[in-house]
C-alpha cells in the first residue's frame, strides 16, 4: 500500500504522457473487444449444445434450400411413423419471401425479407425470443403482437431497424411487391416489432396467408408454374430434448422414403450455422489470427514505448532509490505497477465505455455476417478489457522494468571525481 501511493504519484508525474498512453490503450482495447465480441458470439452460435437442441432440416444439395410444402407435416413430426419413434418437442416451418415496398425499386429503403411461419412459434422457437422472461415487457409486447396475428392474417411482425428503414410505424399498412416470387404481391398491417437484437432486420408473416397467396397465384389463368410456388418450404426447425433424441430424429428423417426428391439433411443449428459461416471463413480467420494479435501486439508496443521512455528518464531516480535501500524487486514492482495500473484503468474504462456506446448509444455493432447483422458487447467484455489492459501492460513493461531494476548505481553516478 505504501509503495502503491508512490506508483500513483509516478503516473501523475508526466500526466500528458500517461493520458496519451491510456488513450492509446483504450483505443486498442476497444478494437480487441469489438473483434472479440463478434468472434465470441459466433463461437457461441457454433458451439454444440447437449440439451434443448434446435435442429434444422433443409434441402440436401441446394442453397438456398427449396422443399415442397408437402414435406412440412411429416418433417415437423420428425418423420415419426411408428409408436416407438422419437418425436420433436416443438417445430416450425420457414418460407422465405423477398419483396419491396415499391414495384420497380429494390434497395435498403424498400427491401423486406419476410419469413412465413406459424405465428405462435415466434415465442417458442425463435432464438433469444424463446428465453424471454414471462414478465418482461418485450415478451408481453410480443405476445400482444402474436395475438393480433392470429386474428389478422395480414399481420406483419417486423424488426425495428427494418421498419425504420422503410419508414413505417406500427399500425400502418403496406403493400409488398414480390421479388423472389414475381406476381405474388402481399398486403400487410404492421402489428408489432421484435425486441432489439438479432431479428432487427427480419419480418414475419402468417404462413397460411403466404400459402393462400401462392395458391391464388397458381389459380390465375395463364400463369406458368414457378419453382418458388412448387417448392416454397425453405427450412423446418425441430426442437429435441437432448443429443440422443436429435440423433434418433435425424435417423428417422434420413430413413424416410418421403424425402427422396429432393433429398433433405438434418443438422443441429450449431453445425448448420458453422456450415453457413464457412463462406466467411477467410474473414473470420483474419479477424481471429491477424487483427486480434496485431491489436494486442500493437498495444504491448505502445505500453513498452511509453514505459521505456519513462524508465530512461528516471534511471538516476531508480539509482537513488537503490541508494536509499530499495531492492531490485521493489523497483521492478514499481515500474510494473505503474504500467499495470495504467493498463487496468484504461482497459476497464475502455470496456465499460464501449459497452455503453455500442449497446446503448449505437444499438449494437453493425457487422452483417449472414443472419447475424448486429452484434452486442457482452457484459463479460468488461472483464476482457481489464484482462487485456493488465496483460498487455505486463508484457509491454517487462523489459523496461527489468532494465530499471538492473540499473547500476555506480555507473549512473559515475562522474569525474
Amino acid at each position: 500500500m505504501k509503495l502503491f501511493l508512490l506508483v500513483l504519484k509516478n503516473i501523475r508525474r508526466n500526466l500528458l504522457r500517461s493520458v496519451l498512453t491510456g488513450l492509446g490503450t483504450m483505443v486498442l482495447v476497444v478494437v480487441v473487444i469489438m473483434v472479440w465480441s463478434i468472434l465470441w458470439f459466433l463461437d457461441e452460435q457454433t458451439k454444440e449444445k447437449t440439451s434443448n437442441i434446435k435442429a434444422i432440416v433443409t434441402e440436401r444439395w441446394q442453397m438456398p434450400s427449396r422443399m415442397p410444402l408437402s414435406y412440412a407435416p411429416e418433417l415437423r413430426a420428425g418423420a415419426a411413423r411408428k409408436p416407438e419413434h422419437v418425436r420433436p418437442l416443438d417445430s416450425m416451418t420457414w418460407q422465405f419471401y423477398v419483396g419491396s415496398t415499391e414495384p420497380n425499386r429494390f434497395g435498403r429503403e424498400t427491401a423486406l425479407f419476410i419469413v412465413g411461419t406459424q405465428p405462435e412459434k415466434v415465442l417458442t422457437m425463435f432464438d433469444d425470443l424463446d428465453t424471454l422472461p414471462p414478465d418482461s415487457p418485450d415478451r408481453q409486447r410480443l405476445e400482444k403482437a402474436i395475438q393480433a396475428m392470429k386474428t389478422n392474417r395480414q399481420a406483419l411482425l417486423i424488426g425495428r431497424e427494418r421498419m425504420e428503414a422503410i419508414n413505417k410505424r406500427v399500425g400502418e399498412r403496406l403493400k409488398v411487391y414480390g421479388m423472389s416470387l414475381r406476381g405474388v404481391d402481399l398486403e400487410f398491417e404492421i402489428v408489432g416489432v421484435f425486441p432489439e437484437g438479432r431479428w432487427n432486420n427480419l419480418a414475419v408473416m402468417d404462413w397460411e396467408y403466404y400459402n393462400a397467396a401462392i395458391d391464388a397465384y397458381k389459380r390465375r389463368p395463364g400463369v406458368r408454374p414457378h419453382p418458388m410456388t412448387e417448392r416454397s418450404l425453405s427450412i423446418v426447425w425441430l426442437k429435441t430434448p437432448d443429443t440422443r433424441s436429435f440423433t434418433a430424429v435425424a435417423s428417422q428423417i434420413a430413413a424416410s422414403p418421403s424425402f427422396t426428391n429432393p433429398q433433405v439433411k438434418t443438422e443441429t443449428l450449431a453445425s448448420g450455422t458453422a456450415a453457413f459461416l464457412e463462406a466467411f471463413r477467410d474473414l473470420i480467420w483474419g479477424m481471429r489470427y491477424f487483427l486480434m494479435p496485431a491489436a494486442v501486439v500493437t498495444l504491448c508496443l505502445v505500453i513498452a514505448n511509453a514505459i521505456s521512455l519513462s524508465v530512461r528518464e528516471r534511471r538516476k531516480e531508480f539509482a537513488v532509490l537503490k541508494v536509499l535501500g530499495f531492492r531490485p524487486a521493489h523497483i521492478l514492482g514499481l515500474v510494473l505497477g505503474e504500467a499495470i495500473l495504467l493498463g487496468v484503468v484504461s482497459g476497464l474504462l475502455s470496456a465499460a465505455g464501449v459497452f455503453v456506446l455500442i449497446n446503448v448509444v449505437f444499438g449494437g455493432l453493425k457487422f452483417p455476417i449472414g443472419f447475424f447483422g448486429t452484434f452486442y458487447i457482452p457484459v463479460r467484455a468488461i472483464w476482457w478489457g481489464l484482462g487485456v489492459g493488465a496483460a498487455t501492460a505486463l508484457i509491454g513493461s517487462l523489459a523496461p522494468a527489468w532494465i530499471a531494476c538492473r540499473v547500476r548505481v555506480a555507473e549512473i553516478f559515475a562522474r569525474v571525481g
Binding site: 508512490l6 501523475r12 537513488v320 541508494v323 536509499l324 535501500g325 531490485p328 548505481v409 555506480a410 571525481g417
Partner: protein
C-alpha cells in the same frame, strides 16, 4: 564473518579496476583506510582520483575488484545486491551533490521514502520524518515539493532523508558542490552540528578546501592512492581523530 573493533569503516587492500577493451584502468590501487566511530572525515583529490568510486564502495553501491570493505562488524563486499540494499536502509545515509529528491513527492514524502522499507507504523514514520525535518530546520516546508524549495533547502531535505533511519554512517558526495557560498556554509554548519550532536560518522567527498576544513581529518586521493593525511585542529566538542591510513 564478523570482527570486533572500534572502527566504523575499514577498507583492506582495495583494488578497483575496469577494462576498456583490452586496456585495464586502475581506479583504486591497494588502498587501506580506517575511520573510527563518530569521525568526520573529508576525502579530497583531483578529478578522476577515485573519490566517488571509494564512496560507492563504502556505501555498498559497487564492489571492489580485490580487497574487503568492512562497515562496523560486517564485510559488505561479500554481500549480495539484495542484502546490501537491506543493509543500506538501516546503516547508510547518503547525501548527493545534486540532492536527487523525487520531484513528484513533497519534502515530507521524500524524507519518508527510506522508512517505507522498514516495518514501521504510519505514526512511527511520521514521528521520525518530523524529527528529521526539524533537525534540518524545515518543519515548516514539509508539504513543499522540491521545485518549490531553494537549493539549500533541497539539500537540507536530502540531509533529513539521510538521517531519518538513524544510520551510523553518513556519506556525502560533494554536498555543497551545487550551492552558493552562503547556502554551502549553512549546509556545512548543519552537518558539523549533526555530527557533533548525534555522533554520526561522516565521510565527505569534496573539492572545496573550506568544506574539508570542517572535518576531523582530511585524506587526499591521487591516482587511486591515499597520498597523505592532514589532521585538522579539532573543535572543542569533537573527539580526537583515531583513524589511520596506510598505503
Amino acid at each position: 564473518m564478523t570482527i570486533a573493533n572500534d572502527f566504523c569503516v575499514q577498507l583492506r587492500g582495495i583494488h578497483k579496476y575496469f577494462f576498456r577493451g583490452s586496456e585495464r584502468l586502475d581506479i583504486l590501487n591497494g588502498l587501506n583506510l580506517e575511520a573510527p566511530e563518530g569521525e568526520f572525515l573529508a576525502l579530497m583529490g583531483p578529478s578522476g582520483s577515485g573519490k566517488t568510486t571509494l564512496l560507492n564502495l563504502i556505501a555498498g553501491l559497487d564492489k571492489p575488484s580485490e580487497g574487503e570493505v568492512w562497515v562496523r562488524d560486517q564485510c559488505i563486499s561479500a554481500m549480495s545486491e539484495s542484502q546490501l540494499a537491506r543493509w543500506r536502509t538501516r546503516n547508510i545515509g547518503f547525501v548527493f551533490q545534486f540532492y536527487h529528491l523525487l520531484p513528484v513527492l513533497t519534502a515530507y514524502e521524500n524524507v519518508e521514502l527510506p522508512l517505507l522499507l522498514l516495518p514501521l507504523s504510519a505514526a512511527q514514520r511520521r514521528q521520525q520524518v518530523e524529527t528529521a525535518l526539524e533537525l534540518v530546520g524545515l518543519q515548516d516546508r514539509m508539504d513543499h515539493r522540491p521545485g518549490q524549495l531553494s537549493g539549500g533547502q533541497q539539500q537540507r531535505v536530502g540531509i533529513a532523508r539521510a538521517l531519518v533511519t538513524d544510520p551510523a554512517l553518513i556519506l556525502a558526495d560533494e554536498p555543497t558542490g551545487d550551492l552558493d557560498a552562503r547556502s554551502a556554509e549553512e549546509i556545512l554548519d548543519l552537518m558539523a552540528e549533526l555530527q557533533r550532536s548525534l555522533q554520526k560518522t561522516i565521510i565527505l567527498v569534496t573539492h572545496d578546501p573550506r568544506a574539508a576544513a570542517r572535518a576531523d581529518r582530511i585524506l587526499h586521493l591521487d591516482k587511486g592512492r591515499l597520498v597523505d593525511s592532514l589532521p585538522v585542529e579539532p573543535t572543542p566538542v569533537r573527539r580526537s581523530p583515531r583513524g589511520s591510513t596506510r598505503e
